[in-house]
Amino acid sequence: MRILDITLKDLSQIVRDWKISLFLVVMPFMFTLFFSATSAPAEADARLPVGVVNHDPDGVLSARLIETFEGSQAIRIVSLKEAEESQVDSLIEKETYAAIVIIPEGYSRQLLAGEDIRPEVIAISDRPAGHSAVTAIRGDIKRVLSAAKGAQLSAEVADSRQPFAGDAARQAYLEEGITLANAAWDNPPISTEMKAATRIDTERSQSTNPAAQSSPGMIVMFAVFGLITSATVLVAERKSQALQRMLTTPVHRWEIIAGHLLAMALVTFLQQAVLVGLGQFLLGVDYLSAPVGILLVMAALALWTASLGLLISALVKGEEQVIIWAMIAMFLFSALGGAWFPLEFAGKAFSTIGHLTPTAWAMDGFQNIVLRGGGNGSVLMPVGILMAYAAAFFGLAVWRFRFE
């Protein structure tokens, strides 16, 4: 009972400044929206902008190339205005375009004649956008080249069987071949298709919802950030000697610590509950498909962050230090744990270390439900590991805890 009294006292202190509490919910929500918006812009067209200058306007192949670009799912082409042509370099530097393609004069004619001629592509290919754009452009050009090569080979076969009457006949045969090949490329015999492997039925597949990554990510990140308020209360309590005074009352040490732990866990749990609700109803992230599993993950995450908060308040002297350590913990655990960007984006060493962090397991727990559609049972392992971390941090905190 006394534990609860301590908890309630803490809670009333934490929520006293309701504006700050509000902040702890509003901020992560804005972040979620923001990260969802940047990873897949809300505008209809998420394709990378690519500028095109066509110096071969009458060519068969260049026309086809433009057509292929236009059908691309990766890039969105824009014809450069004359004024822009002189400043392609700065347009790329300023990232107005991910890449710029310049098709040289006589491209189609020379290519069909078997000469070496290539479009010039300007891009910063070691930036992600530049790299993706160049890959897409290269793929499209290859298809056009393949069609031309096919037509050439076809013409050679025909020529070997029965030589063409003249250049005009050869040209006509070649162009017919190109037309046929292009038509075939519009619907190639072998195609690939990529699907998310999720047990959520494909209609509702969450992998396209960018919030399904950012919403759990921000929940995890701000669960740690929230310690700034709750751990501050405990440190202030030690500074004002109230903690020491508590020892003169007939309350066990463990009751005092447990009371504070519970308060911090409750705050984080409530914060998560609000964010899960917002994620479910405003962003369409399907947390509630496995409600029990989600509750378990939330509770385990709350307990772990609370023991982290306890550890922080056990180790530091003043309120300001709480802010430093909470911020460091937030940056470290959310970056390493994949709350900012999926760990697969990072290098091997980083993602290996990252997968060891409790935050990574919390992310796993959430994503097993919202992305993989694994149901309640799928969270058992992440929850178990989180609880083990919580116990370890709690042990450390109790060991280092000072009352004065």
Binding site: D89, E93, I190, I328, F345, A346, F350, R372, G374
Partner: protein, 425 residues
Amino acid sequence: MKILDIALKDMLQSFRSVFAVMLMFVEPIMITGLIYFAFGGLGGGGSDGLDLPMTRVVVANQDQADATSGISAGNEVTKILQSEELADFLEVTMAEDEAAARAAIDDRKADVAVIIPAEFSKAMTVSGARATITLYHDPTLTLGPGIVKAVIDGIMDGFSGYKITADITEKQLARQGQTMGPDTLRALAISYTQWAQNQNTTEGASADPTISLRGPSGSRTPDDSPLAGILGPVMAGMLIFFVFFGGAYTAQSIVKEDEIGTLARLSTTPTPSATILGGKLVSVFLMVLVQSIVLLISSALIFKIQWGEPAGVIAMTLSMLVAAAGFGILVASFIRNTRQGGVMLGGVMTLCGMVGGLFTAGFNTPSGTFDIISRFVPHGWALDGWKLAMSRASISEVLVPAAVLLGMGVLFFVIGTMLFRKRFA
């Protein structure tokens, strides 16, 4: 003189405070370091591009070899996937069938499942037949599966190209009243494959047959590592974020002095209130000046970040300082007490940083709408300016965001000072 005394005292206090030093100098470097580490700075391979993630691929080859020709295109695809060239980033295992492959993903034993359909070989040999290769990927992953898809798309385009070549040759010969015959087909296959292989092997080399690729001219020195290309904007984001944070934190010392009673005591000394406030403003400015210089130099040394031409760097540094100092004073003027201050500052600064695009700098090309929103906060202009400076744009181009920053800074400064005067007069 007294203005400087107050400013110097404030700076001395800031340097004594572990919190301020951590916040202003250590954290920005630490976070950039974390990203440096995350994207291969320590994992080797940092010099020759991004460290590609290892993707675990499980292949279910359900292809039935063509009965007549004995061709098994499915085996060919599998062989390519298992080839040494791809072994650096693909770890390929085999599964019995589609169900087993998908189970491997559900059990987190594989990242991508490649399902080669039964009619795959048939599609390669029989005119008009089609096949689709299906890839299932772990829904939490995008990058690795994207790479696998690109690889498979390339292979399949090769197959399709050959098939299309054979088809049109046959079709065109038929119009001439001729048939193809197995010898012609074989010769065609050899010619096309040779050509296709030639295309692939020279890809990326200087003799790249598809395109001639170049970076924007003049701006990037040869030793400019690709990692620096990402780290530059990231560090710029961190620089801006923490310089603004530092400014607001230093400005908050007015509130702190009010709390501990030294502000009132200062008023009992023969020091005009304008001097007291002036000293505080100078200290904010000096603090962010020191902070920016330290961060600019240390990041250039540690991460080899090239901030740009001196003129652009100076213009951006100065205008950022004014904006950060002004913004800090404005924000601090709203803070009632230091207890509230920590969370308030953290919140407002993070929010502005987010809107200004500081946390996503280097990762995404911002969309149009976002580009506009980011202009509402000084952070967005600062990032814009630093990017221009780093790309060595002409000084006149850098001056635009610098001028806007300067204007915003002065405006914030005037409003903030007015609010403070009203509060402590």
